[in-house]
């Protein structure tokens, strides 16, 4: 069996390769969407980490300064 026969698959190549190809691309796209979402979440967690003052104390200091 040569390569051309392998890719042609007895005239079923189009259906077989499109099936495997779209499956592969769809899986990669969802994984990419996850990694894009991860970037967003990392920024969210870091922004919360910066805000070190506990909520309760914040309220108290605000009341005192008033």
């Amino acid at each position: 069996m040569n390569w051309q026969e392998f890719f042609n698959m007895g005239n079923h190549g189009l259906y077989v390769w499109w099936s495997y190809g779209v499956t592969f691309v769809a899986i990669i796209l969802l994984l990419l969407a996850f990694s894009w979402y991860k970037k967003k979440l990392l920024a969210k967690v870091k922004s919360h980490a910066k805000d070190k003052t506990p909520k309760a104390r914040k309220v108290v200091t605000e009341q005192i300064t008033e």
Partner: protein, 248 residues
């Protein structure tokens, strides 16, 4: 016995802890990726190259090696989602609701793969890419259930309301799973009857690669759910000190 139930209790308790899961799953993922890569490498070699051609369908039978695993996972995934919904509602276990939310996009992906490859397989085999028969219609309903679940969950601002409403949808929609499974038995469908594990119904040279691909797809599904679940933990525990320490 008492020891076994005690260790199960501890395991269940740990699984309920986002912190424990987030830290442990980071160690599981590389091994899961290796196992998946090995299984899929063998599976793809056999399914595209080393397995025999079907005497009626020719090479188009090779679509089976991704269509059947995707179909299996689309249903198993939904059942897992419904089980998480029950655990979340009954025991108020927050990790369970997070897992439920994490399964939805992965389940939708596998349902899409099942429908897409099935359509392509249908063109040379049945002469049509779609027929409104019971199997195909109920699988399409499954895709809409997954997408509806995601849409419903994201339509609430209040997370606990979102979890509970989506959990009810997941639970009610679970009725569709036995319908998909039984459709080829109960109705006269264009889709063929179940044959994957039936004795003598499928040649061993096809069954073995199919099982390898099913195992690979199960692991891939698990990996993708774990990745999404870790993101869900990041989203919901963004204010937790332990997470901020792990990330920085």
């Amino acid at each position: 016995m008492a020891n076994a139930s005690k260790s199960f209790g501890r395991w269940f308790h740990q699984l309920g802890s986002p912190k424990w899961f987030y830290q442990k799953s980071a160690k599981w993922l590389p091994w899961l990726w290796i196992a998946t890569a090995v299984l899929l490498a063998f599976g793809l070699y056999y399914s595209l190259f080393a397995s025999p051609v079907d005497y009626q369908q020719g090479n188009s039978v090779r679509i089976m090696y991704i269509h059947v695993p995707a179909a299996a996972l689309s249903m198993v995934g939904y059942l897992a989602m419904a089980i998480c919904a029950v655990i979340g509602m009954v025991w108020k276990m927050k990790m369970s609701f997070m897992a439920m939310r994490a399964i939805a996009p992965v389940g939708a992906l596998f349902t899409f793969i099942c429908l897409f490859t099935g359509s392509l397989w249908g063109i040379p085999t049945w002469g049509t890419w779609w027929e409104w028969d019971a199997r195909m219609t109920s699988e399409l309903v499954l895709l809409f259930l997954y997408l509806g679940f995601i849409a419903l969950h994201s339509s609430f601002n209040d997370r606990s309301k979102a979890d509970n409403a989506a959990a009810i949808l997941a639970l009610v929609g679970a009725i569709n799973i036995p319908i998909i499974y039984g459709s080829v038995k109960w109705w006269n469908t264009l889709h063929q009857a179940y044959s994957v594990t039936k004795k003598g119904a499928i040649a061993p040279e096809m069954q073995t690669p199919l099982f390898i691909m099913i195992a690979g797809f199960y692991l891939l599904f698990a990996i993708m759910v774990i990745i999404r679940l870790r993101l869900e933990i990041m989203n919901r525990e963004a204010k937790s000190k332990w997470l901020q320490e792990v990330i920085s």
